[in-house]
Symmetry: C2
Subunit: 297 residues, 2 copies
């Protein structure tokens, strides 16, 4: 049964309770709480700023364009949430930081892609994109330090000019590159070869770019590699590693950097031996890091 509510001749103040009342019949308690609070905050915002009809049109048009810019390989609504600090705030609420030995989480970002290839450890995942070779070696342990085998590990990152594969679909003929799904071995370890990423601007050619330009905000993100971990019996972990010494480390456009996630990206001269035993005839980088998962709540 729909809740009967008087909706006639509402005023600037009476409308909020009238709209909230229409959500009284929501069967799911949590959904009702979200709807009722959303209406209150949305209406408070509109009243406090005295939103005009023209501003409302601009907002509706903006949101529609964010929607049209969004798709399987470009998450413009995620980016909007990111640049408004909402993504990191949700992560901070969802994953209280610093209370356990677990690796800190941070935001997913707009470049995660479902259709990434599943590859064995040691694979070169650069997809032929040129750049400085980078050898990543990871270990996954529980809070007691015991290795966790069989963890599904997503990784994705930019190229040496700060561009993800999905941002250069034409050049790559829609091939995915610099991303993969790996699995930790019996020692809880995973490893891959790729190329070194670079700091980069978040995409500014879509609607979110208009906000950054209007606010004269820096679009830059410090250099980083994304990771997502899934394992039975453990909480999922979404995080990034940031390169120590990056010039944007203290001014991330999407507010995601944490001291505990800043990691050395070690540079080696040409002629050195890579972790996979190859004697490299060009300079390369290595990154090694242990990730700590929390047992499922």
């Amino acid at each position: 049964m729909s809740v009967d509510s008087a909706t006639l001749d509402l005023t600037e103040t009476s409308i909020t309770e009238a709209v909230q009342n229409t959500f009284a019949g929501t069967r799911d308690d949590r959904a009702r709480e979200l709807f009722v609070n959303l209406v209150r905050h949305l209406h408070d915002f509109i009243r406090e700023v005295g939103l005009t009809g023209d501003e409302w049109f601009t907002a509706v048009d903006f949101l529609e364009r964010v929607g049209h810019a969004s798709g399987p390989t470009r998450q413009e609504f995620v980016l909007l949430s990111d640049i408004l600090g909402a993504s990191v705030l949700v992560d901070l609420i969802d994953h209280p930081h610093g209370r356990t030995a677990a690796t800190e989480s941070t935001l997913l970002g707009p470049f995660f892609v479902e259709g990434r290839p599943s590859v064995p450890n040691g694979t070169d995942i650069s997809g032929g994109v040129p750049g400085t070779p980078l050898f990543f070696g990871g270990a996954v342990v529980d809070e007691a330090g015991a290795p966790v085998p069989g963890v599904r590990v997503d990784t994705w990152h930019s190229d040496g000019e700060g561009r993800y594969d999905v941002q250069q679909a034409e050049r790559l003929h829609d091939r995915l590159a610099m991303r993969a799904l790996l699995t930790t071995d019996e020692h809880g370890r995973f490893r891959y070869r790729s190329i070194a990423p670079q700091y980069y601007p978040v995409p500014t050619d879509g609607p979110c770019g208009e906000i950054l330009r209007a606010a004269d905000r820096s679009p830059m993100r410090p250099e980083h590699i994304h990771f997502r971990f899934h394992a039975d019996g453990f909480d999922p972990l979404i995080t990034m590693l940031f390169r120590a010494g990056d010039p944007y480390i203290d001014n991330d456009a999407v507010f995601g950097v944490r001291h505990s996630l800043i990691t050395e990206f070690v540079t080696h001269d040409a002629g050195s031996t890579a972790p996979d035993g190859t004697v490299m005839n060009v300079p390369f980088q290595t990154v090694d890091r242990t990730f700590v998962l929390t047992a499922a709540r």
Copy 2:
């Protein structure tokens, strides 16, 4: 110059000011006010409800789908604003009601279409859609009661089954119908023939329908005809006329009904003479109404 801001190791509370600080460099004062307040209300909402990562994903996916459902003939973001009461609230703030003799405004709704035909007074705008004939006679005056010639008058409405033209594009072969742009004559009058509309549910086949179903809310809108008036020297007016006696008059899904906009839709028997002089061999309706515009502020 972008504003330098510390964004490292933000907490659930420190993040709000950090994000607001990134908007300090916004050149337009009003835009800065809107951004700063938006961030505060968005973050307060997320904190107060303790939004989870899963709920955030659901919200991002929902907004993306609202965007994809939106286009030139379907304004799903407008509908979202409508069912959350935001559209009427903005209208109430923008157009203080009851303080002048002007006709009260109400929301635009999701079915306004830019490409509507411009037609002379007296035109049958039904576009061949079958239904009970309706003859509309309007007058536009200023607050002193003097007629206003040359007013551009948009009108649009549903058919007798509550469907707009754009909701039956296949049946109508994408023709627009039951909508037109007219102009008031030297006596400030406009008139057209069409068919009687009907109460109807707002579209529930898109993402907004999920909200209405989750909340067990009525999707119904009482029968109405939309109008939009533009004239040099006057404030634009967006409004609707609602049929007196409609069963949904006190329970409008989008909160738009005002007593002052409830109007008699008069039914006439077959054999009566229509306002254009035609002796009608079927029953028909007439609606007459004077609209009062406010001089431009």
